[in-house]
C-alpha cells in the first residue's frame, strides 16, 4: 500500500527513509498545522497529499512551503535545556479524570464496539 509520512523532524525522517514524506517546518506537536486554523490546515494537507502523486523516487521528501513564524527563535529552544519529558508510568494516563471514570465503566456505545487495542478488548480490568 502506498504510504506518505508527514514529519516535522527532517533529519530523523531521512534516517528512517520512508517511501514518501512531506516535511512541515513547524515545532514538534504541530505535524499537521496550527491550532484553530482550519483553512491553513487544509492548505497544508492538500500540499502534503499532493506528494502521493508528485514523488516518484523512493525515499523522496517534499518540503512544504509553510513557515511557523518570521521569528525563528523556537528553533533554538528545542531540546536545548532540561529534559522536558514527563515521567513514564505504565498505567493508563488519562487526559482527565472523567475519561478514566468513563473508560472504567466500559466506555460508551461508540467506543466499546470494537477491539480498539492490540492487547485487550475494552475491559480495563484485563488491560496489562
Amino acid at each position: 500500500m502506498p504510504t506518505l509520512c508527514m514529519t516535522s523532524a527532517l533529519d530523523i525522517t531521512r534516517s528512517v527513509n520512508p517511501p514518501r514524506a512531506a516535511f512541515l517546518d513547524y515545532p514538534l506537536g504541530h505535524t499537521t498545522g496550527k491550532p484553530h486554523q482550519p483553512q491553513l490546515q487544509r492548505q497544508i494537507m492538500r500540499a502534503a497529499l499532493e506528494a502521493f502523486e508528485s514523488l516518484t523516487a523512493p525515499g523522496s521528501v517534499k518540503l512544504l512551503p509553510f513557515v511557523w513564524s518570521a521569528d525563528e527563535t523556537w528553533k533554538l529552544q528545542a531540546f536545548s535545556g532540561q529534559d522536558e519529558r514527563t515521567k513514564r508510568l505504565d498505567t493508563p494516563q488519562y487526559q482527565s479524570e472523567q475519561d478514566r471514570i468513563l473508560a472504567e465503566k466500559g466506555g460508551t456505545r461508540e467506543t466499546n464496539h470494537c477491539p480498539s487495542c492490540a492487547q485487550w478488548h475494552g475491559d480495563p480490568a484485563r488491560a496489562r
Binding site: P35, A78, T91
Partner: protein, 160 residues
C-alpha cells in the same frame, strides 16, 4: 535558519544529562515502493497517527512502551478526542487535535472532492516507544493488518 537538526540536538542533550546515546533507526537501503494506482480523488485514505490520541471512553495509553493502538471511527466527534503522551507539549493538540490528528481536515478534503473517502477508522498509538524492535514486531503488523482489512488505497502517517 534551516530545519532543526534533532539528532545532534538530542544526542547533545542526552550527553549533558548523562544518558546513553539513543540509537536512531537508520535505513540506508532504498525503501520498499508501492506505486499509486488511483487518483487521490478516487482513493480511500487511512490515517495513522502516533501522538497518543484516543476517544473519551477508550482506555488511555500508558507511557512505558505501550504497543497498543486505538481504532477511531471516521465519524468521531472532534470534541470527544483526547491526547496523552510524555514527550511533546500537548497544549495545542488538546486545544485542537487536528494539529496531530487531522480528522476534520481530511473530512473537509473528502467533502471538497480532493480525497475520495476515508477508511472507516483511523488508527492511533502513543509513539513514545523506545524499542524500535517492539514497534516493528508488535505494533506495526497489527495496524497494517487493520488498514488492509479496511481496504484503504493509501495510508497517511502522522508522527509527532
Amino acid at each position: 535558519m534551516g530545519p532543526v537538526q534533532y539528532i545532534p540536538r538530542i544526542r547533545q542533550q542526552y550527553s549533558r544529562l548523562g544518558y546513553k546515546p539513543y540509537e536512531w533507526v537508520s535505513n540506508p537501503q532504498p525503501p520498499p515502493w508501492q506505486p499509486v494506482r488511483k487518483p487521490l480523488a478516487h482513493s480511500r485514505l487511512a490515517l495513522i497517527a502516533s501522538g497518543g490520541i484516543y476517544v473519551a471512553g477508550q482506555v488511555a495509553f500508558h507511557h512505558k512502551d505501550d504497543t497498543s493502538f486505538r481504532a477511531i471511527p471516521n465519524t468521531v466527534r472532534t470534541a470527544d478526542l483526547r491526547v496523552t503522551h510524555f514527550a511533546y507539549d500537548k497544549t495545542d493538540a488538546r486545544s485542537d487535535p487536528n494539529v496531530v490528528f487531522p480528522i476534520d481536515t481530511l473530512r473537509a478534503l473528502v467533502g471538497e472532492g480532493f480525497v475520495g473517502e476515508l477508511a472507516d477508522h483511523a488508527y492511533t498509538f502513543m509513539g513514545g516507544i523506545y524499542s524500535a524492535r517492539r514497534v516493528r514486531d508488535e505494533l506495526a503488523p497489527r495496524i497494517t493488518q487493520r488498514v488492509l482489512e479496511e481496504r484503504a488505497d493509501l495510508a497517511l502517517l502522522v508522527p509527532v
